[in-house]
Amino acid sequence: MNISIANLKVGEHGVIREISLENIPLTLLEMGCLPGEDVELLQIAPLKDPLYIRVNGSHLAIRKETASKILITKK
């Protein structure tokens, strides 16, 4: 099953899976979204988009569309 960050509920964690690198923009990797890292969904914006996450020590807001490209295994 393809679960991505976009499927998390607020407060839930996941671990980023080994993903096909082509689909992920370089910037996201550079901001710390790397395979094997823990992701926590901190908040969802009032209109369900963007998502506010913590990954690898960084606090980031990303759009749902981008989040759905980052596949995870739920903890």
Binding site: E30, Y52, S58, L60, A61, R63
Partner: protein, 703 residues
């Protein structure tokens, strides 16, 4: 070392790391803001005395998370560092990093270090270490990073001297690359790159290959070779990803040995504030309240200094007229240059106050929450959450607002933001709105508290915002512009704003406005002066012509000179232009005099009022209390015999000023920012057509 040697030091770092605080500490008031050639990004440089015989020119490069740029601002970092003959190419780089977010900050450091330019790591906010539960082994970190590492606290002025001392020894730094990318990714591939560019650090050649844009600093032969490597896009992208992962692995290994942080400490405040500030109801309520406070302050606080400035330049002009001998030159100074400068200075209070608020909101970390809250809404209108800052800034002046759009990474979102910002009600529209509202809206109160005139002004603000959003919506569907937009923003920690940083930001933005818009406003003012103060033969004979026209009507000397001035304006080039466009503007309810005011509004909209004052021959003194408002109210339409500025004409003018693109400075900035004439021309004609049609409908329906 010779006496008073000067070196160049570049500050590089992630946004929100206190890089600007460090810059302010190092340079104090010895700083200046200029522009990078050809673009409008502020370039901040300053002088710092490092030791008795070494001074440094410090360059504050735009904040960036990576050496690979995603916005125009970030582009500058790479542009400066790749080209050894760039005027700002540094002798030393100081990478400023937030000690709490050290991992991501070290990614940038490791990229910079591999360019093999002397580099120091300055770990900022060291005073927070205990509070945040951070422990760090500096000596081991130095060894692992093969670099100088200095702990500083820029806000508390700690470690600044140690940093200066470290910079002084820059020629003894270890220049080895940190990440050995070639072995870990594809040894053969990178060996071939090294062979082709033996004089370059390997990472430098690799950066030339990985960037979409072609960066300067290469010979023609090298350019050809880079092109060959660039062709295999898939491979380049794959290796770039691998490189990043490898760098993080290396950083993780180093940090495991040298760095401990207790994550449970000090995250409470952040999550509590986030819960309220990004709450689905409270978040918007708080944002709305903050906006109200900002607008209120812009009006209240700015009105007194603006009146003073207005008064000052009027007196100055009058004094100059008395002292200087009469003639063309005096007229140029007193009617062209002095009012032209005044027309620039008068905007400073509002712009300074607006940027005071914007700087506070950004410094505290609140602005990122606004971006988070507004992104989905703004996207419906073709923009991004980051467009909120430009749209708010637009209520002071479109010029700094359009420049603020630079950090929007998606080209389409940025372009739409730039195109729609001029709809927001800028401060130059206010004097026009004020006088027309005073003329046509009665001074009544509704429900006992709201003044009708105030409500009319509020409605005009609403029209401004609504039209920028609606046109954004339309442009989003019409414009076929390529380019995906990646939206990744950092949500920084909440901080108390530093007064020093805010002070410098306000000064810097205000200066940028004066130099950006000021020159154009001044130039246009002089052109308009020329058009209004010269003309064909009849203009030169105006005095005689006027005597014939007046005939035997008895006028006192004041009335005589006022009406003469009005008559002369009619015969001037601008008068002729006003008459020429009269047939076009007649359907909107305007006569040629309003036409003159419309033309002169191209310097800055508020010139409208001053021009009408001249046309309706109002003297400088209000002794007999004939203010411009009364003169305008008394103006009679010769056809109908009724007041010219009746309700339909006034409404039509308000609508026209709300929509029309009457600002040459804005057009010039849009040209520079989009690097094309297409977009400013589209704005000019698009907004002009809209204004014309809307005013026509308003006038026709109301009369």
């Amino acid at each position: 070392m010779s006496n008073n040697k000067a070196i160049k030091v570049a500050l590089i770092g992630n946004p929100n790391t206190g890089k600007t605080s460090l810059f302010n500490q190092l340079t104090g008031l010895n700083q200046k803001v200029g522009n990078y050639p050809g673009i409008t990004v502020d370039k901040k440089t300053g002088i710092s005395q490092l030791s008795a015989n070494l001074t440094a020119s410090i360059i504050d490069l735009p904040g960036t998370y990576s050496i690979n740029p995603t916005t125009l601002d970030e582009n500058i970092v790479l542009k400066t560092l790749l080209n050894t003959s760039h005027t700002d190419f540094p002798d030393v780089i100081v990478v400023v990093a937030d000690i709490e977010n050290i991992k991501r900050n070290l990614l940038l450091f490791s990229q910079i270090k591999d360019l093999q330019i002397p580099t120091i790591l300055a770990l900022n906010m060291a005073d927070q270490m205990d509070k945040k539960g951070i422990k760090i082994d500096i000596d081991l970190l130095k060894k692992e990073l093969k670099s100088e590492v200095v702990l500083i606290s820029a806000r508390k002025k700690q470690g600044i001297e140690a940093l200066k001392k470290a910079i002084v020894n820059y020629d003894k730094f270890n220049l080895d690359a940190l990440a050995n990318i070639s072995d870990r990714i594809d040894a053969d591939y990178f060996r071939s790159i090294k062979q082709n560019f033996p004089d370059f650090p390997l990472y430098k050649s690799w950066l030339y290959i990985t960037q979409v844009e072609d960066f300067a600093g290469l010979t023609d032969g090298q350019k050809k070779q880079i092109k060959v490597y660039k062709k295999d896009k898939e491979k380049v992208k794959k290796y770039q990803h691998k490189e990043t992962i490898f760098r993080y692995q290396q950083i993780n290994n180093i940090l495991k040995k040298t760095y401990r942080i207790d994550r449970s400490q000090g995250t409470d405040l952040r999550s509590k504030l986030d819960k309220v500030l990004t709450h689905k109801i409270w978040g918007y309520v708080i944002f709305a309240l903050i906006l109200m406070v900002i607008f209120q302050s812009i009006f209240d606080w700015a009105s007194a200094p603006m009146d003073l400035i207005d008064q000052f330049f009027a007196n100055f002009s009058a004094k100059a007229k008395d002292i200087l001998p009469p003639g063309k030159f005096t007229s140029l100074i007193t009617e062209g240059i002095i009012p032209g400068i005044g027309g620039v200075v008068i905007f400073i209070p509002q712009i300074a106050i607006l940027f005071l608020f914007v700087a506070v909101l950004e410094e505290t970390g609140y602005m990122s929450r606004v971006v988070f809250l507004m992104d989905k809404i703004m996207r419906r209108f073709g923009m991004s959450g980051k467009s909120v800052v430009p749209l708010i800034s637009g209520t002071a002046c479109a010029i700094p607002a359009i420049m603020a759009a630079r950090n929007i990474s998606g080209w389409k979102e940025r372009l739409i933001t730039i195109l729609v910002v001029p709809f927001t009600t800028c401060s130059a529209r206010l004097p026009v709105y004020a006088i027309i509202i005073a003329l046509i809206i009665p001074q009544q109160r509704v429900f006992g508290i709201f003044g009708l005139q105030g409500l009319a002004l509020l409605a005009l603000y609403f029209v401004g915002f609504a039209s920028s959003l609606l046109s954004g919506y339309l442009l989003n569907h019409i414009l076929k512009v390529k380019g995906s937009s990646l939206f990744v923003i950092e949500m920084p920690n909440y901080k108390l704003p530093s007064l020093k940083n805010i002070f410098y930001t306000v000064i810097e933005k205000t200066k940028a406005f004066i130099y950006g818009a000021g020159k154009i406003i001044l130039a246009i003012s002089i052109v308009l002066w020329f058009l209004a103060s010269s003309g064909p033969q009849q203009f030169e004979d105006a005095e005689n012509g006027f005597k014939i026209k007046v005939g035997n009507t008895s006028l006192n000397s004041k009335q005589y000179s006022e009406q003469l001035a009005s008559y002369r304006l009619e015969q001037s080039y601008i008068g002729i232009m006003g008459k020429a466009i009269e047939p076009v503007i007649k359907p909107l309810g305007y006569d040629w005099k309003i036409g003159i005011a419309l033309i002169s509004s191209f310097a800055a909209r508020e010139v409208f009022v001053g021009t009408l004052a001249t046309i309706y021959s109002v003297g400088n003194d209000d002794e007999n209390n004939t203010t411009i408002k009364q003169r305008m109210a008394a103006e009679i339409n010769p056809k109908t015999g009724k007041p010219l500025f009746n309700f339909p004409v006034g409404m039509s003018l308000l609508v026209f000023y709300a929509f029309a693109m009457q600002c040459v400075s804005t057009l010039a900035i849009v040209k520079r920012e989009t690097n094309s004439w297409i977009w400013p021309i589209l704005q000019l004609f698009g907004m002009g057509t809209l204004a014309y049609i809307a005013s026509f409908l308003t006038y026709t329906l109301l009369s």
